[in-house]
Amino acid sequence: MNLESMIGTIRPVKLVISISLIVIFYLIARFFGRVLYNELRKRTPENVAKPLYNTIYYTIISIGIIAALETYGINLSSLLVAGGFAGIIVGFASQQVFSNVLSGFFLYVERPFSVGDPIEIEGAGISGVVSDITMLSTRILGWDGVTYRVPNGTLFGSNIKNLSSLVARRVEYLVSIGYGDDIEKAKEVIRNVIEEEPLALVYPSPEVFVEELGDSGVILKVRFWAPTSKWFEAKKKVLERIKVALDEAGIEIPFPQTTVWFRTPLRCLKENH
């Protein structure tokens, strides 16, 4: 069909019907899109609401255009077949993208973290504060000052530690003392250090107990709680003070030692000069 014959087949009534269809579908898209967007904005963030709005809006507009073309008897089956093939190719190509979008949606529904939360992704070696969550990825400002972009698909499949979901977080150390040292004295010294630290909470109560009788010494487990936002500060301050306090109290922090036993007595050779 050439251009002249196509123009020849355009009749005023069909033209009005097709234009009317496009206008009606446009108005429907505008109305439903806007209503849906407003409702979504109440429940979801902008980065979720806007793509959903766009998807609904352009789907309705597309249906309108297809319906308008149908009034001219334009058969869209070949177009749809071509579109289908293209869709399969694009689908394969964008599998990862859709996986990330879907994961982003599920992450939003599940809400394991929010913007501003310090998190740790186990196995990925990434830890920091969530700075942005989009449909495709999440940005994390790492403790080392580097910004990480983590695809939502990766996040969804990982174990995520949210480090700020509770008001307090537990600090734990293993402190080894010599077998000859007084365990009770060591425990008291450590308890005093914790008591002197403002960031170490009174409740839940701190704990110091023998965790293990190790190869080189008695291993004490030290546990106390600190405000989540001050966890790292408390952790680094207290451990250093425990070392100093144990030194001052004359309590040895042992290092691995091995006693070598010889089956036969050693013979010493004496050289005469």
Binding site: A168, E196, W225
Partner: protein, 234 residues
């Protein structure tokens, strides 16, 4: 040492804290030493410096908590329908200020004891609070009037009281250690539920008022539901 002017006094000691404020020309050389270790040193251009009590609502760091928890030295047991009125003394922080009429413009803020915090309730659902234990010492402390009514049908025992830090007011008298804190009214309503009302103290004549909310005195008593458990071990 008492609340009031610091300048032209020798070194003053409160517990293990020593303070010096030496005027040299129109500048004051201020030093705070704890256990012989210098904690703060400043040169201050001001006509005078004053030591005042300060609500225990900021230390160890501003913004970490919004509530206070007082642990009584003895457990209280109250039978159903009965009421107990008692006065307790709790430690307060100390502030150094230049203008006694504007006590919120603090130059230094410190505590005699280590300022401690705790979680009130379970960690999973609890509140971070400033932890205060009743004390017997007169300096750097204030009295709180407690009116506790067991509005419930069963006897209760408890040892901890929680209320909002924004409702903490102190009246103090210059030239003495005398001070009065808020009045706390508690109505125990259930096994793990109590209503707490905090009222500012009625300052007698000659006393100055200092509050945790920058002088804004609430027209209504502060109400707080101790839903995480007021009882022993809460």
């Amino acid at each position: 040492m008492v609340y009031g002017s610091l300048v032209n006094k020798n070194q003053v000691a409160i517990g293990n804290v020593k303070i010096t404020a030496k005027a040299s020309g129109d500048v004051i050389h201020y030093k705070r030493v704890r256990n012989d270790k210098l904690e703060k040193e400043m040169l201050i251009k001001a006509p005078n410096l004053f030591l005042v009590p300060y609500p225990p609502t900021i230390l160890p760091e501003k913004g970490l908590y919004n509530h206070l928890m007082i642990e009584l030295d003895k457990e209280l047991a109250i039978y159903a329908g009965l009421e107990v009125n008692l006065k307790i003394r709790i430690p307060v922080d100390l502030a150094i200020i230049a203008d006694i009429r504007n006590p919120h413009n603090t130059i230094d803020l410190f505590s005699i004891d280590v300022p401690k915090m705790a979680v009130y309730g379970k960690v999973q659902e609890g509140l971070l609070v400033r932890y205060l234990r009743t004390t017997g010492r007169e300096e750097a402390s204030t009295t709180i009037s407690l009116f506790i009514k067991n509005c419930w049908k069963r006897a209760v025992t408890f040892s901890r009281i929680v209320f909002a830090s924004e409702a903490f007011f102190i009246c103090f008298r210059e030239g003495s250690w005398m001070s009065m804190g808020p009045t706390v009214k508690i109505c125990i309503k259930g096994e793990r539920n109590a209503t707490v009302e905090v009222l500012p103290p009625q300052c007698p004549e000659g006393y100055l008022l200092i509050s945790s909310s920058e002088g804004k005195v609430r027209s209504e008593p502060y109400r707080f539901e101790m839903i995480n458990g007021f009882s022993k071990g809460g």
